[in-house]
Symmetry: C2
């Protein structure tokens, strides 16, 4: 690994999750977009994390991130309770409902970047208030690539600020329903073009177990979900997916169409590993070799020749 | 095109459809699994169609099939009304509800194969009563590959007969919900293996706009849906998909893993064309060159290298 491609900055939630699936349930497990993203990206490249936790957060559970080169200098600990989220998955493990959200100290999150975070080259603005996403972006000196994630709450509640973010970034990651809602188009190809027309060169639409689509200037790329036989917990898979994309980009330092396609496959690989255990547990022990082997399996999974050879 | 690879036999419904989408609606358009399948497969190879229609069927609307080498000698016309089906699509065009089903002469369908249909080499048992699927299969002398489709109605109502069919075929095509229901497993990889253990070497799971998966003995293949900007009517896309698979297989006469993967992509191509107009309208004018061009676009859509080159 070379450091010359610069590090990744991620801002997003750091949470304690309660997760129920049809088969099991856990509570007070570490989670949040920034944790899942960092756990995935740090397999491939250095990460700087910006977020906030309360006094009750089990910080020692983030030691695995530090050991893998995640700089937690931007993780502020404040008086009060940590952000807590609860979700319950349905029978098919593809859909879920939120059972509770307690913002705690996250309600007054005001991200301030340590000085050496401002030179980050690869910036992922996790799913937070678009106004905060703009605050973070204003603090970055010279990024190579900036992406944001978002959700229906901001699409409905703060569309103007969200569109301002969208106008300033290179890539957006969002799921199919969010793309439809944001654009007002039921058709994903049209939805992606609508979003591209408002800023980002690259629109990445996440489709859960159905994979992901990358809409670039002249091309569309489709990567499938990995056909896992045991999906334990999909929580954070979308953030690990984004972490995989950024890990690839920062590791190799290139942003051509071929690289972006490969980055999306790395994203799908990381997203699939994330589902194999509760919380970020599987990502803790994940090696770069395991990621590369799964990328190879994605190649086998999708390869065909248009003509008999 | 050579005839030496043998012709395709399809048995299934021949219907008059009433279709409502959020944008438009039509009624009394020709439809049914056998029509959509034959309209797709006949772009690539000769087809023999087995079905039943009432006295009210506008038979001249099937002339385009005859002109493309579809043998309608197995299409029986009986006193009574034709099978009618109605469906209404939801906003995302991926889900629909059935608004009416009038079986008419289809209720007493008893498929009898003309003598020269019995030598068909590629047999598709469309979604009908499994007992009738067995009747048809018993009349075929020496097929190379037999596939069946089915639906929740038969999975719930006649599971024993369905499992008997499944035990005698080489390939099954069914959608993701049907695979989950049939196997009792929410996980598609496990569902496919459950079905494979009961007979068919190849399980093809249709996922609508999300594409299709081919589970073979040692490999899984994933093909995406084509990102159409205008989906007019998805009715019959699953049957056109199966028609594309069979058209490819009968045209080239090979059933190796590489061929099956390519066949599934041909299926996805035909399924995507089927969505471009109401009923089988788009398939009427479709050329082999257009199919091959779209297969090439599928290659572009999914291609990546696992390593930078």
């Amino acid at each position: 690994m070379t450091e010359s491609n610069g590090s990744i900055l991620v801002v997003g939630s750091v949470a304690l999750d309660q997760i129920a699936t049809p088969f099991d349930n856990v509570q007070e497990v570490i989670g949040g977009a920034a944790v899942h993203f960092a756990a995935a990206a740090s397999v491939l490249a250095p990460v700087q994390l910006v977020g906030v936790i309360g006094e009750d957060y089990p910080t020692s559970e983030l030691d695995f991130l530090k050991e893998r080169g995640v700089d937690l200098a931007g993780l502020e600990q404040r008086p009060g309770e940590s952000f807590r989220w609860g979700g319950r998955y349905h029978y098919d493990m593809n859909t879920r409902e939120t059972t509770h959200t307690e913002l705690g100290v996250f309600a007054e999150f005001s991200p301030a970047l340590p000085a050496d975070f401002r030179s980050a080259r690869w910036v992922f603005l996790g799913n937070i208030d678009p106004t905060l996403q703009l605050d973070v972006l204003d603090q970055i000196a010279e990024p190579i690539l900036v992406a944001c994630d978002t959700m229906n709450y901001w699409i409905e509640g703060t569309p103007d600020a969200l569109l301002e973010v969208i106008g300033r970034i290179d890539m957006i990651t969002l799921n199919d329903e969010e793309a439809r809602q944001l654009s007002g188009s039921p058709n994903l190809a049209r939805a992606a073009r609508w979003i591209q027309d408002r800023g980002p060169r690259h629109v990445v639409i996440k489709k859960g177990e159905h994979g992901a689509m990358l809409f670039s200037e002249d091309a569309i790329f489709f990567a499938p979900g990995y056909p896992l036989e045991d999906v334990i917990d999909p929580t954070g898979a979308g953030d690990a997916f984004a972490g995989g994309i950024f890990g690839y980009l920062a590791r190799f330092g290139r942003t051509g169409e071929d690289d972006l396609r490969r980055a999306v496959v790395y994203g799908c690989a990381l997203g699939s590993f994330a589902c194999e255990e509760f919380g970020p547990e599987r990502l803790k022990t994940l090696s770069r070799q395991e990621v590369e082997e799964r990328v190879r399996l994605f190649k086998e999974l999708t390869h065909f020749e248009a003509h008999a050879t």
